[in-house]
Structure formats: structure tokens, C-alpha cells
Amino acid sequence: MINKRLIGAVPESKKYIAGNVAVQWVSLAANVCMMGSIAALLQKLCDGSAQTGSIVATITVGLLALAVRFVCGLAASRMGYLSSKAVKSTLREAIYRKLLRLGASYAEKVRTSEVVQVAVEGVDQLETYFGAYLPQFFYAMLAPMTLFCVLCFVNVPAAVVLLICVPMIPVAIAAVQTWAKKLLSKYWGQYTQLGDTFLENLQGLTTMKIYQTDGLRHERMNEESENFRRITMKVLTMQLNSITIMDLIAYGGAALGMIMAVTQFRAGNVGLGGALLIILLSADFFIPMRQLGSFFHIAMNGMAASDKIFHLLDLPEEMGGDRVPAGHDIAVHGLRFSYDGEREILHGVDMTFPAGSFTALVGESGCGKSTVAGILTGKNRGFGGTVTIGGVPIREIREDALMQTVTCIGHASCLFKGTVRDNLLMGRPDASDEDLWDALEKVKLAAFLKSENGLDTVLAEQAGNLSGGQRQRLALARALLHDSPVYIFDEATSNIDVESENDVMAQIHALAREKTVILISHRLANVTRVDHIYVLKDGGVAESGNQATLPRGGCYDKLWTAQQELEKYTREARA
């Protein structure tokens, strides 16, 4: 239950964990003094030798011990805080740095949802692991040994009996742990699944209501939770068994210790005060271990989270190149790519995108056009064939240089919570407000933002307070500010209203006059005015040319006709 590498990952927490254990130990010592004094007083009360002074003395010792324990309690919680404080920031930073090092192609190696889970929940779990579990782990070892040493001076047999019982708790825990490891993952899987059912039933409630199946789903949800309860209770039985064993040992052990104290007293091997002290302290032998046992799930979660974090941190990093593209001609030869190593998406594609050219990639969904964009922007790494920018193989280009050369705008660009200014400055950190307004004018957002709060307009989480079209136009403004020589638009207008689509398209065409632009679009009407069109089909270039030269009866022509036919179809329908 102790992972050296994990502790090593947050070295500054070590001293706080040690400090935590130390103050808890001092507190224990104060308790022993207090109990000793109480036991002594009780003995005097019994044999009638007690004076008012001895009562006062005991109360004084008690109050002193109380003060010490109060301070120790504060200090222990402070130490717990300090040891966990470092954990969160250190680990989150480590994770984030790792992702940045993995770079644009990170998504090939690890799922975003997994990273989110590790970096948010996992790190929180480790915080408690460091703050609560680890100190308790060491204290639970130290406390019984200390009490044993103290009680040895009082009565050895009783002390031995108590000490022997203590290790039986971790043995019981260990026995459960080997079992629990197997079942816990299954149990949590089902648990979260149930939570999901409720959540997604809420999300899909409108759909259910439309078709009047909400009642049926409701019943099924109740059945499922009953099922889940049955399974989980079965699984839990084992864990409950361990709690029972733990309690049996803790209370049975304490009872045995007390019985030993009384029998030793009867045999005359220990005085009344000594026997009382054993009775008063025997429970303390077991409390730390029991507490440790109750932290069991923290430890399990912590171990699971640390496994995931280290798995992430151990992912191999591609050796990035350190070259800078010499020009902006892009050439692609014999490009092959597969996401899973089995199904090949691209089967040897040849394409060129000369500097300053305006090129379109078209084709039905699934033909591989977005994959080409992914490769040109470094998101997809493991490809076959050659891809060069300005004659330099893309694999040898330093990532930040590639990012400064190629800007990609997808269909769902991410905007960040914060002001419009913050979001735009990402594109060009040294841009003046004038530059920002200029970009906003180009994407026809200026008027809208002026009616709001200007550049200080606050965006909600994922820019939820903007419409899809506004989001996309703002993302375009940010991209324009980036001022890179190459732009790739990957279905940048597939998700937005007609007005926004027209604005964005107009801007793309304007941009194409001065930059290299690669436009990926399903709407052939958008690509009629480009210099060159590549038509992709089944992972290969089926045709290339432009609106005038592409062959009649070919793929492009068919697609074009289909779209024209639709218009005709709808026109005819109207007539």
C-alpha cells in the first residue's frame, strides 16, 4: 500500500508526513502521561490516601496534556494540509507538461477523457492519500510499539498480549486487499455505470417523452438499480467481513488486555494503578490501526490513480525534430495511414500544395480528408510515405515551428472561458486592441461585440453564451491573428448557420489571396473558385484538377451532380 515512486514524485511532502507522525506521537505521549496520572489518582482514591492536592495535581497534568494535545491536533492537521498541498499542483503540472511534450499527436496515445479523469479526480484522490493515509500508515506502526514500551514497565504479559493482537489487523486487511483488488474495478465500473444511466436518462428525457417511453425507461432504471444493489451487496459482503474481523480483533484484543490486567492484578504482579493504566490504554493500541483500516478505500483509490498517472507519465515521447521549414511548399508522396494499425485509411496519396496556392480536398465522409489535415498539423504521426514543408520532412520540423507555419481550424474550435480579448490574444499575444477589432471586423463579429461588452465580453465555459456560428467566427478571428503562412480549414463551416457560413467562406477566399490555404469541405459550391481540387475516395486520390478540368462523369462530377440534383429536386418540388 506504499508506492515509493509515488512518494518520490512529491519529495517535499516527505518532511510533512514525518512531521505529522511526530506530532501525533507527541500527542500520544501526552495521553499516556494523563492516563498515568489518572490511574495513579484512582489508586490513591481507592486506598484512601488521596488528598485534595493529589486531585489538583492530576487535574493540572490533565490540563497540560490537553493543551499539548490541542496544539498537536492543530499541527497534525497543518502537516496534513502541507503534505497534500504540494501534491495537487506538482502532479497536475507534471501531467500537463507531459501532455505538452507529447504535443499535437497526444490524442494518438491517450484518450482525452482518460486524461481528464486522471488529472482531476485522480489527483484529488492522491491528495487524500498523501494528506491522510500515508501519515496514518506510519503512525499506526509507531503507536502500538510506543504503548508496548510504556506498558512493559507496568506489566510485561499484558503488554505482550496487546502487542501480539495488533498485527492481526493488517494481516486481515491484506487478506481482504488481495481479494478486493480483483473485484473493486468491476464494482466501481458497475457503480459509475448506474450513475450514468440516471444521468443519461435525464439527458434523453425529452426524446423519451416524445415517444412516450419515459415510463418504461423509468421502470427499467429502477430495476437496474435494484440489480446493481444485489450484485454490489454480494461483493460488499467480503469487505464487510474484513470490517468484522478488524473489529473482532480490536475489541477482542482490548478485552484480552484488560482481562490480563485484572488477572495479573489478582496474582499480585501489578498494582491497582498499573492495572487501571492498562485498562485505560488498551483501546489506544488498536485505534490507529482501525483508523488505517477505515482509510482502506483511500489507499485503494490512491494506488489506482497513481498507476494511471504513471502510465501517462511513462508514455514514450516522439523525438521531435529541430528544423524549421525553409519555405511553404507542401508536398505529400505515397502517404499511408492507419489509426489502429489494421484498417488503412490512406493508401498512398500524392498531393502538392504550392506556397500561396488555394487547394480544396473533397470527398464523401470517411474518405480520409480529415486524416490528411491531421498529418499536416502533426496530430497524426505514425504515417508512411513522405510529407515535406518547404522541403523539410514534417517529422524533422520542430513542433512550435510547425504550429507557427500551419494553422488549422476544425468544425468545433475550442474557445476558453475568459474574455474575448484573452481568447484572441492566444493567436497573437502582442496584438493591439486595434488589431483585434480589425480581425473581428473581418469575421463580422465587431458589431455584435460592440453591442455587448466589446473585447471584455466574457465567454462562458466552452463559449456556451455564443451561438455556433459566432463561436466559429471568433475562432476564425483568432486564427487570422495567428498570421501563419499556411491555413487548413477542416469543415470549418459544417456546423453553422448560413450567414456565418457565408462570412467565413468570404474570409477564407480573401485569405487565399495572400496565404497557402487548404480547404476541406463537403459543399462543392464552396470549392468552385479554388486553384486545384483533390477528390479523395476510399483513401486515395480519385481525381484532381479544378472545376473546369475535372472529368465529366467522374467522382467529382457525380458528387456535383448529386448536389445540383438535390437543388433541382427541391426546385422541382417547389414548382
Binding site: 499535437a104 497526444y106 438499480s225
Partner: protein
């Protein structure tokens, strides 16, 4: 609505009446278990007294047997109590979810389609989890502590009433006064800290989700810098929170020790005065020392109590809220012969959405409603489904005012395809069966052929049994919408309402959908809402909506 804490608590307890028996059992076992634990030490004292030849309730030998028995019983009861508590917790969660889901079924979709829908759903789910804590870890500990303390006060009071009184004060201080003090001290701080730390988590989350953009614009280090800044900003709050929490624990522990000492002082003084014998002194001190367990369990409730009440209040609000529209029943069943909106006006909060909109929908026609986003055209569809109620004017189905049409009949008459099709974490077949639970495989296939999605589904590894979750992002918008359309076809309704069904689709996908609608609709009446003029091509008649008005 604002309720008193007591009112919230009483209502919440009322909700779980079916579990009263189990709750009592858990309380009984917990109480007995705690008594066993406390009396192990007390019987140790009796055994000692017996050896000393002083009056003891029980002989040393019998005491030994009892002590061992108590520890075994305690362990067994602990098992029973835990098993009972887990049972209660699971049933509770199911029960509360059952209540809330039932309430939302009544309130939906109006309630869930408002502006803060996403927020509402997340609030509900986290509130319910908080309530589970309240039920499973608040009610029974409180009951156990009260009963246990009463018994112990009686036991100690039997030695001397003054000592009993002291014990009562001790339990009340540790179990009531201190938690209340803590609750008062930490109420606001806790909420603020949780909010700020939620913000930080949100920042981390968006830094991860937006990693592509952050790498694209070289903002990695700036993001890290900001993350560090926010963490530091939070640290001072966190430090104070933890300090308060630490102080609370220390105060509780010190209070316990203080009362132990007070009991020792009081008992010793009475002993010296000869009012009670040594046996009384010893047993009173041991009894108090070993009996704080149940009240300490209450000490930590203080810090969560405020948020529990808030959560309880919100959940009760949902349970109490009356729906925007009540289901209509008991009206004469009607056959669909057409529909119309007659000078319909509708406002949401203060915003006027529709003004004097009239649309005629003859049976068998394809009617288009075109307009920019936010023009109110989607609202018109929702009014036709009676998700909301018309504020002025009338919507008529088969010539009858919509409020006089049985809701069940109305649903039978209508299918609805939204801009985004919601797919459940289930197989494709089950997702289709949402629209018709008893549909045969053949019916599913017919509907999917009509929606041009059958071939796609057959190409999947497990065909109709493929789990949607396994497909993940590989299911394109077009395929999702076609599944949505297949659902609508499967639900054999007279009226097919489509709200921007193709706005996220490419032209070919759109063509496929529009053609399916036009050619496979049989004699269905179609209302198609879209911002795209091109989509309107298949319509027999098109209405344009601008700023809530038909033009």
C-alpha cells in the same frame, strides 16, 4: 422556495418512509454495538472491583466472559449495521432518483429545455448524491447518539444524579453545541471554497479539452502559469478551511478530555466526601471515557449540514414544482385531419419569442418553416407538441383546441426529430425501440431502410446489436440523424415534426434525409423547420419567420 431547516428535514425523512424498518434495525444494531464496545471497558472496571472485594455489578469471571462476548457481539452487530446501511444507501439512492425522475417526467421537457438545462442536470445529480449522504450517514448516527447518550446518562446518573447531569452536559456539548458552532463558522467559507475549487477544476478541464488549440497557438506555458496562479490563489482559502477543520477536530478532542477530567474531579470530590464509594468513582470515570464514540460521529456533520439543506431544498423544489403543462386525459379520441396555429404568441421570461404567428398544416402536406436561428421557429414546433402552452391565440389539431386533446393521443399522432439525435448508451436496436418498445426486428429494418441507414448498420461489427458507446465519435452527425429519422418512421404517427434535422449535415447527407422524408413519408403530414432556404425545397408551402413574426 424557502423552507425552514426543520421543514426540509421532515419532508426528506418522509420521502424514505418505505425504508423505516431497515432504518430502525440499523439504529438498533448500531446502538447495541456501541453499548457493547463501551461496556467492555466498564466490565473491566467491574472485574477489577470484584478482585478488590468492592461491590461490583458482576463477578470477575462472569465479567471476563461478558467482555469477550461483547467484542464478538460488537463485531457481529457492526457487520449487520454496515450491511443494513449499505442496503439503505442503495435503496435510498434508487428511491430518491425514482422520485426525482418521476417529477422531472412531469416537468419535462419545458423544465429541461430552459436556458440552464446543462446546469440543472448536474445540480440534480450532485444534490442527490449529497442527500444520499444525509440519509445514510446522518439520520441513523443522530438517532444512535441520542439513544446511546440517554442510556449512558441513566447509567452514570444511577451512580449519582450530579454525575449523570455532568455526562448529559458532556454529550450535549460534543454532539450538539460544537457541531452547531462548526456549522455556523464554516457555512460560507465552505461554499466559497468549493466554488473556487470548482473553477480551478474547470480551468484544468478546459486546458485539457482545448489542448489542440493550446498547442496550435503555443499557449502551453501561459496555461501552466495561469494554473499555478489559480492554485496559489486558492491555497490561502484552502489553508484557512483546513485550519478551521483542524481546529474543529482539536476542539472536539479537547472538549472530550476536559469532560473526562471534570468527571474525574466531580467523582473524586463526591468520593472524598463519602457520598459515593470508590466503585462509583471508578465506574463513572470509565463509563464517560469510553462512551464518546457516538457523539463524536456527529461532530463532522456540522460542516456538511448547510449544503445538505441547500441540496434538499433544491430537490424538494423540483418535487413540488408544478409542470408548465399538465397532461390532458379523458377527452374524446380524435383522428388526425390537419393542424393549424392561429395568431399564436409566446414569450419566454421577458423575451417575446412569437407574435401573432399563423400557420396552416393541411393533412398530408409538407410545410416548411424557415428563419434565422433565434427567430422562434423551433418554439412553434414545441407549442404544437404542447411542451409549452400558447399564451395568446390557439393551436388546433383536427380542428380541436390543443388543450382539449388527450396528451397520449397527441404523442401517438406526432414524431419529432431534433437537431441532434440523443442516443442512449445501449444497442442501436434498443435506441430505435425508444420509439416503439415492442418493435420486431423486421419493423426496425423497414424503418431503417426508409431512413437510408440500414446498410450502414449492417456494416457494423454486430449489426443492430452494436453498442452505440463502442462507436463513440465514429458515428457521424449524418448517421445519428438518420437513426433519429428511423425512430420517427418506426413511431407510426400522422405528423412528422422536424427541427433543423439537417443543420449539422453535409449536402449529401441532407439530400438523403430530405429525400427520405419526401418519398418515404407515405401519408404523413410533415412540418420541417430549418434556417437553410435550400432545405425548404421539398416543402409544399414555406412560412418565413423573422423576429417571431411570419412574413
Amino acid at each position: 422556495m424557502k423552507r425552514s431547516h426543520f421543514g426540509v428535514m421532515a419532508r426528506l425523512i418522509g420521502l424514505v418512509r418505505p425504508l423505516t424498518g431497515y432504518m430502525m434495525l440499523a439504529i438498533l444494531m448500531g446502538l447495541t454495538g456501541h453499548l457493547c464496545a463501551a461496556f467492555i471497558t466498564i466490565f473491566g472496571g467491574f472485574a477489577l472491583l470484584d478482585v478488590l472485594g468492592l461491590p461490583a455489578m458482576i463477578g470477575a469471571g462472569a465479567a471476563f466472559v461478558c467482555m469477550i462476548a461483547f467484542s464478538a457481539v460488537r463485531a457481529g452487530l457492526r457487520y449487520g449495521e454496515q450491511a443494513c446501511n449499505h442496503f439503505i444507501a442503495f435503496r435510498l439512492l434508487a428511491l430518491i432518483r425514482d422520485h426525482v425522475f418521476g417529477a422531472l417526467r412531469r416537468l419535462c421537457p419545458a423544465k429541461l429545455e430552459g436556458r440552464d438545462r446543462g446546469n440543472l442536470i448536474s445540480v440534480i445529480t450532485s444534490d442527490i448524491e449529497l442527500l444520499e449522504v444525509f440519509y445514510a450517514h446522518t439520520i441513523s448516527p443522530v438517532a444512535i447518539a441520542v439513544l446511546f447518550s440517554t442510556i449512558m446518562v441513566g447509567f452514570i446518573g444511577n451512580i449519582h444524579p450530579l454525575l449523570g447531569l455532568l455526562a448529559a452536559i458532556a454529550y450535549a456539548a460534543v454532539g450538539i453545541a460544537i457541531p452547531l458552532m462548526i456549522s455556523r463558522a464554516s457555512g460560507e467559507d465552505g461554499a466559497r471554497f468549493r466554488r473556487k475549487s470548482g473553477e480551478l477544476s474547470g480551468f484544468v478541464l478546459s486546458s485539457l479539452r482545448g489542448l489542440n488549440e493550446i498547442i496550435q497557438y503555443g499557449q502551453g506555458n501561459a496555461r501552466l502559469e495561469e494554473m499555478r496562479r489559480q492554485t496559489d490563489a486558492l491555497a490561502s482559502d484552502e489553508e484557512r478551511m483546513k485550519r478551521i477543520a483542524g481546529r474543529n477536530v482539536a476542539v472536539t478532542n479537547s472538549a472530550i478530555l476536559l469532560f473526562d477530567l471534570a468527571m474525574l474531579l466531580a467523582a473524586a470530590t463526591l468520593g472524598q466526601a463519602g457520598t459515593i464509594g470508590f466503585e462509583g468513582v471508578l465506574i463513572a470515570v470509565l463509563a464517560l471515557m469510553s462512551s464518546f464514540g457516538p457523539v463524536v460521529a456527529l461532530a463532522n456533520l456540522g460542516s456538511t449540514l448547510q449544503s445538505t439543506f441547500a441540496a434538499g431544498n433544491r430537490v424538494l423544489d423540483i418535487l413540488d414544482e408544478s409542470p408548465v403543462v399538465e397532461d390532458v386525459t379523458g377527452q374524446e379520441e380524435i383522428a388526425f385531419t390537419g393542424a393549424e396555429a392561429d395568431q399564436v404568441s409566446f414569450a419566454y421570461d421577458d423575451a417575446q419569442i412569437l407574435s401573432d404567428v399563423s400557420v396552416e398544416i393541411p393533412k398530408g402536406a409538407i410545410i416548411g418553416v424557415n428563419g434565422r436561428s433565434g427567430s422562434g421557429k423551433s418554439t412553434l414546433l414545441r407549442l404544437m407538441m404542447r411542451f409549452w402552452r400558447v399564451q395568446r391565440g390557439e393551436i388546433r389539431i383536427s380542428g380541436r383546441q390543443i388543450d382539449a386533446v388527450n396528451t397520449a393521443d397527441l404523442r401517438k399522432m406526432q414524431s419529432f426529430v431534433m437537431q441532434d439525435t440523443h442516443l442512449f448508451h445501449d444497442s442501436i436496436a434498443e435506441n430505435l425501440r425508444i420509439a416503439k418498445p415492442d418493435a420486431t426486428q423486421e419493423e426496425l429494418e423497414v424503418a431503417c431502410r426508409k431512413a437510408s441507414v440500414h446498410d450502414f448498420i449492417m456494416g457494423l461489427p454486430k449489426g443492430y446489436e452494436t453498442l452505440v458507446a463502442e462507436l463513440g465519435d465514429s458515428l457521424s452527425g449524418g448517421e445519428r440523424q438518420r437513426i433519429g429519422l428511423a425512430r420517427a418512421f418506426l413511431h407510426d404517427a400522422d405528423m412528422l415534426l422536424l427541427d433543423e434535422p439537417t443543420s449539422n449535415l453535409d449536402s449529401l447527407n441532407e439530400a438523403v434525409i430530405l429525400r427520405s422524408i419526401r418519398e418515404e413519408r407515405a401519408d404523413r403530414t410533415v412540418v420541417l423547420v430549418s434556417h437553410r432556404k435550400s432545405t425548404m425545397g421539398i416543402c409544399d408551402r414555406t412560412y418565413s419567420v423573422e423576429h417571431g413574426r411570419v412574413s
